[in-house]
Symmetry: C2
Subunit: 219 residues, 2 copies
């Protein structure tokens, strides 16, 4: 069953054209969601018809998946980092990303909307996001473990929670920031939260929630 792809070469400018479409799709899916955003919306933005888009990408779902992987690539470029670091540098990298995201509302919105959309039944990007979070959590866990080893403390069993929490807080802050940019500093709030969580792993304090409640009358 040789899937002998004909693989006839495309014209030189078509790569640029595809990139143009991907950028437009990022825009549209970001601002309207992947369900509400239509092929015609995207086509209008690059000055062609929706059939032209389908010629390039086959179907809407395939276009969506390419948008997601395309952003992953251009994302690493953006911060001019060769590869994602580990250890303490991983968390510094997250903080830098948060500050940088405050300048890229379109991309942030794309991911915020799509990741939430993807939890719905049979969403095209569901597998993509399941994998993405698994990988990111794993990287965070490894960074925590490295961090603990460097400090010669045993990695607590909270690292799994902390890894999920760090990603969660970044996503959640993005949504609040998108809804109400005047009332939230994305970079600063992310930095604060990341520091708090890292600190709780490497330097655990007694839980303030378990203390006996201080009476207001005890003043």
């Amino acid at each position: 069953m040789a899937t002998a792809k004909k693989q006839t070469r495309s014209r030189p400018e078509t790569i640029a054209r595809r990139r143009e479409i991907l950028r437009a799709a990022t825009d549209i899916f970001g601002s309207k969601g992947s369900v509400n955003g239509t092929l015609t919306d995207i086509a209008d933005q690059v000055g062609m018809t929706h059939a032209g888009i389908l010629h390039h990408f086959g179907s809407k779902d395939l276009l969506l998946m390419e948008v997601l992987t395309y952003r992953d690539e251009s994302d690493v470029d953006h911060l001019e980092e060769k590869h994602i670091p580990t250890g303490i540098e991983f968390f510094r990298h997250l903080v830098r990303t948060a500050f940088s995201n405050a300048q890229r509302a379109g991309l942030v919105q794309l991911y915020a909307v799509l990741s939430a959309e993807s939890v719905t039944d049979d969403h095209a990007a569901r597998d993509y996001f399941v994998d993405r979070y698994r990988n990111l959590r794993q990287e965070a866990i490894e960074s925590f473990e490295l961090l603990c080893a460097q400090r010669e403390v045993e990695a607590p069993d909270t690292v799994a929670h902390a890894a999920a929490a760090i990603l969660a807080v970044m996503d959640g802050l993005q949504i609040q920031w998108l809804l109400d940019p005047e009332n939230l500093l994305l970079g600063e709030a992310s930095e604060f939260a990341i520091e708090a969580i890292v600190s709780a792993v490497v330097n655990p304090q007694p839980s303030p929630l378990r203390e006996p409640a201080l009476e207001t009358s005890a003043e």
Copy 2:
């Protein structure tokens, strides 16, 4: 211009019928999103036609808004708490909510999907979520301030970040949990994160991210 409404009362069972519809709508909007979930889906689930739903609620958008406010009411009932507490109890309340949410995937999904959907242009529920987050952040800020006052420390200027971060981490963990329930304990992870953030406010530690990096070779 007296719009003298005759206002004959609705039939006794119609209140129960509306509630039935609201519950079905919660289900459908939760599992498919408010864009993908249709009036016919909801109608099927309660055994009527989509026109019947429109008779009760006027339009899809109005139904959506009623779903959101309906859940807010039934939510307080659920935890059997008279009103939301302040101070340390506010944060304990959030932890209880997180544990309780692990039993209510449908409702969690409704909010996760809709809050992210709402950041898209002209979404019906956008104002609802902007207000909701503003109010919740305010409650969190006041609880932090009360907490600091009780400990006779000055409330740091990080409380605003912390307030946003606590809500954010709860939302973000919900999405990861919905995508991959086997790999995430919603209650435990939320508790860990909330403790970490509260601790960072009332008992700030030096930032682990600002330390001079420990060399791995210094082992």
